[in-house]
């Protein structure tokens, strides 16, 4: 007993050391989304290219959707854009955009210049839908299944590595679910 007490500080030190060392390699920005497993929020917003066209969450149902939050003011969106254009060629899913707190003309110009990977972009001028999605920075991408349930959320730009490690397994799982 006495011996145990003598070694207690060492044991506490080692346990603390292990815990804190692990903490060093955790990314504090990597927040779990409160929306995974929940349905896509209800919205009714105009399309970016055609303000007359009303878009709702119903448009996302019936297939696997990727919903990408972007804005022309966001440098990382510029970085991931070519990869999105590449992704859009796939017929395994459909890619949609949420144009977040942006200038309509600038956004349209961006799509003309860099290519438009999206089926349509939702024009979220005041960031209302983004807040409902729990978005805190662009770009963010959500994977929505055919029932309109959010299955995954990824914060940050997508590139080939991210796609292979994070998205591919989820998409495959959704495809198996049929």
């Amino acid at each position: 007993m006495n011996k145990l007490i003598r070694f207690l500080p060492l044991i506490v030190f080692i346990v603390l050391g292990v815990v804190l060392y692990r903490g060093l390699s955790l990314n504090p920005q990597d927040l779990p989304s409160a929306l995974v497993g929940k349905p896509m929020p209800v919205f009714n917003l105009p399309a970016l290219k055609n303000p007359e066209r009303d878009l709702t969450e119903q448009a996302l149902k019936g297939h696997i959707s990727l919903v990408n939050v972007w804005g022309t003011w966001c440098p990382s969106c510029r970085y991931e854009h070519p990869y999105l254009v590449d992704l859009a060629k796939s017929d395994r899913f459909k890619l949609y955009g949420i144009n977040w707190k942006d200038d309509r003309d600038l956004a349209k110009e961006w799509l003309v210049k860099l290519g438009d990977p999206y089926q349509f972009s939702i024009f979220d001028e005041f960031g209302k839908l983004a807040i409902d999605l729990g978005v805190y920075a662009a770009p963010e991408t959500f994977v929505v299944d055919k029932h309109g349930i959010i299955r995954m959320r990824f914060a940050g730009p997508i590139d080939a590595n991210v796609w292979r490690e994070k998205f591919e397994p989820v998409i495959q799982q959704l495809e198996q679910e049929g």
Binding site: L31, G134, V135
Partner: protein
């Protein structure tokens, strides 16, 4: 010489004055340092509730700031959202639930009591109690040991020698007890206990 001293004093006090002034100025400004929205409130209660809420809610983007302190786009949006909901007549709890539903428990600076946060809430109290128990046990143990302490044969011999010496001295020279050297006095007292 005298003027030099005065000048020196004057220099010091002006330095001090400048220092104090700069502190007070920086404090005045630091009060206003957090971003200010020009929101108009219907009444003081709404304003107070708003201020309490934006202090309580964490900015999801800039993680060590609350909504009130942050200037990021998302914090501005969320402040506006809080403001709008307050004016729609929503309760504080509804607003907090709204944020948690979107951004998770992470937005709360005061984490909710749940299975995951039991450790967070109770560990300090448990550790404190544990500390007190350990201290009590140790103190008791030590007190017990002190009572049990006995003089070794060698120490007994020394004590007897000292006592004898003292007795001799008091008899022969009738030295008052107060004049006995403090060291011996101590030993004497110990023996009589």
């Amino acid at each position: 010489m005298n003027t030099k001293l005065v000048a020196k004093n004057f220099g010091l006090s002006s330095l001090l004055l400048t220092f104090l002034l700069s502190i007070s100025i920086s404090m005045t400004f630091s009060v206003d340092a957090s971003p200010v929205d020009t929101y108009q409130f219907d009444n003081e209660v709404l304003k107070t509730r708003y201020q309490a809420l934006v202090k309580e809610l964490r900015c999801p983007k800039c993680q060590n700031q609350n909504l009130a302190d942050s200037n990021s786009q998302i914090a501005i949006d969320l402040r506006r959202e809080v403001y709008n909901m307050l004016h729609e007549g929503k309760a504080d709890k509804e607003i907090v639930d709204f944020m948690v539903a979107r951004y998770g428990d992470f937005v709360l600076y005061r984490p909710k009591l749940s299975k995951v946060t039991y450790v967070l809430w109770f560990a300090p109290a448990v550790l404190f109690l544990l500390g007190i128990i350990i201290v009590i046990v140790m103190v008791r143990k030590r007190a017990g040991n002190a009572n049990k302490a006995e003089l070794s044969a060698d120490e007994n011999q020394r004590l007897a020698a000292i006592l004898e010496q003292v007795n001799d001295e008091t008899v022969q020279q009738s030295v008052p007890a107060t004049q006995v050297s403090p060291e011996i006095n101590k030993e004497l007292n110990k023996g009589s206990e």
